[in-house]
């Protein structure tokens, strides 16, 4: 199998007292589409931010293309970043530039390409995400879903070896979701791109994923509770995984607190002060 593209070992990240990531370990091989799943606020986006190097872990190791990035100096990290693309959850387009200029930005800034070719590449990339003819609009003039697709077009503008996607399909209609999924599939299967996709859209996850990890909630927050191929995840014995992939309201992740817990939490403040009821 050779050297993994991404290798994460014992990643721990604390924000003050709160531990958001607690000993996350996994690896992504070349050509895989790794899906990171988990409930809202379980640390999926935080995990992604650590992998792209915009957050530093409290402890642990992150290797991309076989290079440790946790203590890498800025210029080297910048060179490494040219080899991957990141599609942000809300697009993160520059509001002052048009859609076309946004997609052209990585090309203009990081390569010496003729303006005519930049123009051509921008048109091609926008065509990929179904947004031909929107080059001259500002991000504020298009819908949230369209912004997201422009973000994807920008992420693949430099034909990266590695694509990170933060909830690429949330807020898109089913047809567009299928288009984006198909695009991710084409990029990974045909162009041999490796993708790491954070999502909680189960349909899309099982459509594009070749391997998956599930981050836990509650007591097991910030740890990987299941890891494997889509089939392994689908048949995983852990009830929390089953609850998550089947979308059940109640289960190991409780819908409501027990009455005692509820009273406790509601009146906990008074209790601490010694008020009796």
């Amino acid at each position: 199998m050779g050297e993994p593209l991404i290798e994460i070992r014992d990643l721990v990240r604390k924000f003050g007292e709160r531990t958001v990531l607690n000993g996350v370990t996994f690896r992504v091989e070349k050509g895989e589409t790794m899906i990171i799943m988990g409930g809202s606020g379980c640390g999926k986006s935080t995990l992604l931010r650590h992998i792209i190097g915009s957050m530093k872990p409290t402890s642990g190791s992150i290797k991309i293309f076989g290079r440790e990035i946790t203590d890498m100096p800025q210029p080297e990290l910048e060179r490494l970043r040219l080899r991957f693309g990141m599609n942000f959850q809300f697009g993160a387009l520059l509001q002052s530039l048009t859609v076309g200029e946004n997609v052209a930005l990585p090309l203009i800034e990081n390569s010496r390409v003729d303006p005519a070719i930049v123009d051509l590449v921008v048109k091609m990339k926008l065509e990929l995400v179904g947004l031909t003819g929107f080059e001259h609009l500002k991000p504020a003039e298009i819908s949230g879903g369209m912004r997201k697709r422009v973000g994807l077009a920008r992420a693949v503008a430099l034909d990266p070896e590695l694509l990170f996607s933060d909830e690429p399909t949330s807020g898109l209609d089913p047809i567009m979701t299928a288009v984006i999924d198909q695009l991710t599939l084409d990029l990974t299967r045909k162009l041999d791109m490796t993708a790491v996709v954070v999502t909680h859209d189960m349909v899309s996850a099982f459509r594009i994923g070749t391997r998956m990890i599930v981050l836990g909630a509650g007591r097991r927050a910030g740890t990987i509770i299941a890891q494997g191929t889509p089939d392994e995840i689908r048949n995983h014995p852990d009830p929390e995984v089953q609850q998550f992939i089947n979308g059940e309201p109640d289960g190991p992740v409780p819908l409501k607190l027990s009455p005692e817990d509820y009273i406790d939490r509601l009146l906990g403040h008074e209790r601490e002060k010694g008020v009796h009821y």
């Binding site: 915009s54 970043r81 809300f90 387009l93 520059l94 509001q95 990585p106 920008r154």
Partner: protein, 251 residues
């Protein structure tokens, strides 16, 4: 963040600006001149009407107060001296600075702050585009050029304001006004004003950019950063003005 922390960030930002200004271009990362001119229009040219109005009203006021007080001693012919010296070396740079802080400095902080909140700055970093080079440097250069230019314009307009009072209220003829001014002021007065405006420009733009890049916490954070950038800029400018005036006074 503590005061020391803020100062640390401030010097770090300055070091990065220095790097991208003087070392970056030799490493194949030149300054984007289109962006610099674009910012010069936004920071400088668009601030011109407000600067002009402020300078005019200050010129008028100094001449009026001067005329009233000096005429008691029969010295109203000294009004042009007063106008020229105060505007060139003190009030010109200071008031143009205040206008530019309120208009352009705050806009820079709000814009960079909104970009920070909207993950735009993070997106730039991930695309291997350095935010200091891409966003701060054009604004820095634009401010360093445009504030002294605005100050010189403001000096002219302030003196024109003084002329209106001298000409229409004191019946002084234009030639006499100009001659008195040239006689009373020294080129050093103008130069000291320009030196001040360069220092003010550096303070204003670095403080504004730093406040914008360090915004945390959504729309409210942007608002707080903008307020603090305006307050800090004005304070820093007043302190720097006092120090510079003292330097020019004793040297």
């Amino acid at each position: 963040m503590s005061v020391a922390g803020h100062l640390g960030c401030f010097f770090e930002l300055n070091a990065r600006i220095f790097y991208w200004l003087f070392i970056g271009p030799f490493k194949g990362k030149p300054v984007n001149m289109t962006a610099v001119f674009h910012q010069m229009v936004r920071i400088g040219v668009q601030a011109f009407p407000m600067t002009a109005l402020t300078a005019l009203s200050i010129g008028l006021t100094i001449a009026m107060v001067g005329a009233q007080e000096l005429s008691r001693m029969g010295a109203s012919s000294y009004v042009p001296d007063l106008v020229a010296i105060t505007i060139l070396s003190e009030l010109g740079p200071l008031l143009v600075g205040v206008v530019v802080i309120g208009r352009s400095g705050s806009a820079v902080t709000a814009e960079l702050g909104t970009m920070k909140v909207g993950e735009e700055i993070e997106a730039l970093e991930v695309m291997a585009i350095n935010p200091v080079r891409f966003l701060v440097l054009p604004r820095f250069l634009a401010m360093m050029v445009m504030l002294p230019v605005l100050t010189v314009f403001g000096d002219y307009i302030g003196m024109a304001g003084g002329w209106t009072i001298c000409h229409f209220a004191l019946d002084m003829n234009t030639a006499a006004y100009v001659q008195r001014m040239l006689f009373a002021s020294h080129p050093m007065d103008l130069y000291s004003g320009i030196v001040k405006s360069v220092v003010f420009a550096w303070l204003i733009i670095t403080i504004s950019c730093q406040a914008g890049l360090n915004v945390t916490g959504g729309a409210e954070g942007v608002g707080q950063a903008t307020t603090s950038s305006v307050v800090t800029s004005i304070l820093a400018m007043l302190i720097a003005n006092a120090i510079l005036t003292a330097l020019f006074f004793f040297l």
